[in-house]
Symmetry: C2
Subunit: 347 residues, 2 copies
């Protein structure tokens, strides 16, 4: 795919942009040149009696907690509010092939030439070109213009596999955990790394939900952001957890996960003292990572749903003893899949 073959609004009818927020959406003004041609799903992540303002001219559908309760009934319990978790509901009700989800209040970043980066366009490029999880290419994404597979790359692997996830990055304020934020309050990411790469099979990564796109048909049912928030023992960990589930399932199904471009700009530091609510995640992750590194799915798990249900069983069996929270999470992983299948009967 050449750099110029994409129109300014590629796949206009096949993409939903998902945002969850408690605030007015003035940040969309910045994104207007890039987002206005697309449909948005907005999750009002707070008091449903309030009205949040969406700038004129955007094509959107807004759901609040009442809508979610009405649509999902008792299964609505699997959708947490606060943090980014409520976006999962949007992933479920979308009818589009591709999802791009962005954290509100993130700005358009600029490339080293000063040009504003069309993040969505780069995500679409990433998702439309294959991934190479089985062997590392030292010149990074071999499908980009001006690149290819280097000497020594096996020819049998050059077709690649379908890309399920495109994980974008952030300039300015880096996505650090609370302890690192506290230790390095002034650190800013100013390094623009002009690369997209596939995360190899068998390797886990910390997936950040702030600038994330995926192929809903390939991996949608695994994009459950779990149980977090003020009524849960853990916060600020929903996307990280999801990333581990997603990577294990992509590896099992032969799907690719890319990371790198596009950048967006994070200019508002979150509060590290509030973020300390992630402390249980920091503690638990030392047990979660060996779990996910050794997780193995049976060969007959050929759909994302089946993989996810199987993973929920393993979560209950192996992580339930870490904390009862994981039993509850495992139950809600099942509820999530039931709700997904109700809303997406054909798939």
């Amino acid at each position: 795919m050449s750099e110029s073959s994409l129109s300014s609004a590629p796949l206009k009818d096949e993409v939903d942009i998902v945002i969850a927020t408690m605030k007015n959406l003035e940040f969309l003004e910045m994104w207007r040149p890039f987002f206005q041609p697309y449909h948005l799903i907005i999750i009002q992540d707070g008091d449903p009696s309030k009205t949040i303002h969406v700038p004129h001219g955007f094509d959107y559908k807004l759901y609040n907690r009442n809508d979610i309760n009405r649509i999902l009934g008792p299964k609505a319990s699997c959708i947490s509010f606060n943090y980014s978790s409520s976006r999962s509901f949007a992933f479920m009700v979308s009818k589009k092939k591709y999802i791009f989800t962005i954290h509100h209040d993130f700005f358009v970043a600029k490339d080293p030439s000063g040009k504003e980066i069309n993040a969505l366009q780069q995500h679409i490029k990433n998702l439309l070109s294959p991934s190479t999880p089985f062997f590392y290419n030292t010149l990074y994404d071999p499908y980009r213009e001006g690149a290819d597979f280097v000497r020594g790359y096996p020819f049998s692997l050059r077709e690649g596999v379908p890309t399920a996830v495109s994980h974008g990055l952030w300039l300015d304020i880096p996505d650090y955990d609370a302890p690192t934020q506290l230790v390095k309050p002034l650190e800013r990411n100013t390094r623009y790394v002009d690369a997209v790469m596939t995360i190899p099979k068998g390797t886990l990564f910390p997936m950040c939900g702030m600038n994330l796109a995926f192929n809903r048909e390939l991996i949608g049912p695994a994009m459950y952001f779990g149980l977090v928030g003020d009524d849960q023992p853990i916060g600020h960990y929903e996307d990280i957890w999801t990333g581990w589930c997603v990577k294990v399932i992509c590896d099992h199904l032969g799907l690719g996960v890319k990371t790198g471009l596009p950048y967006i700009s994070n200019s508002k530091a979150s509060n590290p003292f509030v973020n300390l609510k992630e402390y249980k995640g920091i503690y638990w992750q030392e047990e979660l990572i060996p779990f996910f590194q050794s997780a193995s799915l049976p060969k007959d798990c050929l759909s994302v749903q089946k993989c996810y249900i199987e993973l929920s069983k393993q979560v209950k069996e192996k992580l339930g003893k870490v904390d009862d929270y994981f039993n509850k999470l495992a139950d809600n992983m099942v509820t999530w899949i039931e709700a997904w299948d109700e809303l997406n009967p054909s798939g």
Copy 2:
């Protein structure tokens, strides 16, 4: 390590620069500001009766085929000439901790600001900072200035592991195989990717020997560039083969392999018609890669030498049936280790 803490000639007494060539070494003039403080080992890779010219002022030791025969005796048969394979002899006779080997005729590259890149200095930075093979960090090398581990990176893995290999890249003419060269004769790599990253455990990569540094104490005995050249059925594959051996051993021993910066510039295209001699490599690699992907070393292989001898046995057992060449190669892998241990009795 801060960017400025390195003097202009870091580790001056602990590095050997290794070059193998049949030609006069005028290309060293370009590298003089960076290489002159260091010791060079030059392998005269052709007719030993000829004299090759080394520009004045360099501190070097030159070995030709006669020297190698004299020093190694009958074991000299394991050192191929032509291609880059003869460099292995230099790795063996070096008494330094770090090796930087560079293909003759490669130029100093410039970074996007136009500044000449001190490739050796970047390799030393890479080798002196740890690697992170067990979990992917989305902001690349977490030990670089201005970077760190992102949210969701397990704290127990943040110490990293010792770095054994630093694999640098090339601007301008990319390191493509002969078929790709023939198909894309005009493609040039102009993308400066400002990143260093660890190749994850369990993932193989195509190691190019043109811009390569390593910690000789950690991985030296695995840096055997094998049997290639005019008297062998295969050429242009020595570094690729070595990279697979090296990666399997690094993974087994818990050592890191980094790739990315520094760049050097490859401005002289090699002849793709000559390079077609690699065709057997292209053919064989489809069997070699599954072999290396599934290679497993016993727990009691705790030294590089033991790992390498074990690997030679597996090569003979499993690849001997692909072609008798691999039986011969396996025998020479053993000879190589015997010669290494003779010349390096303490290690």
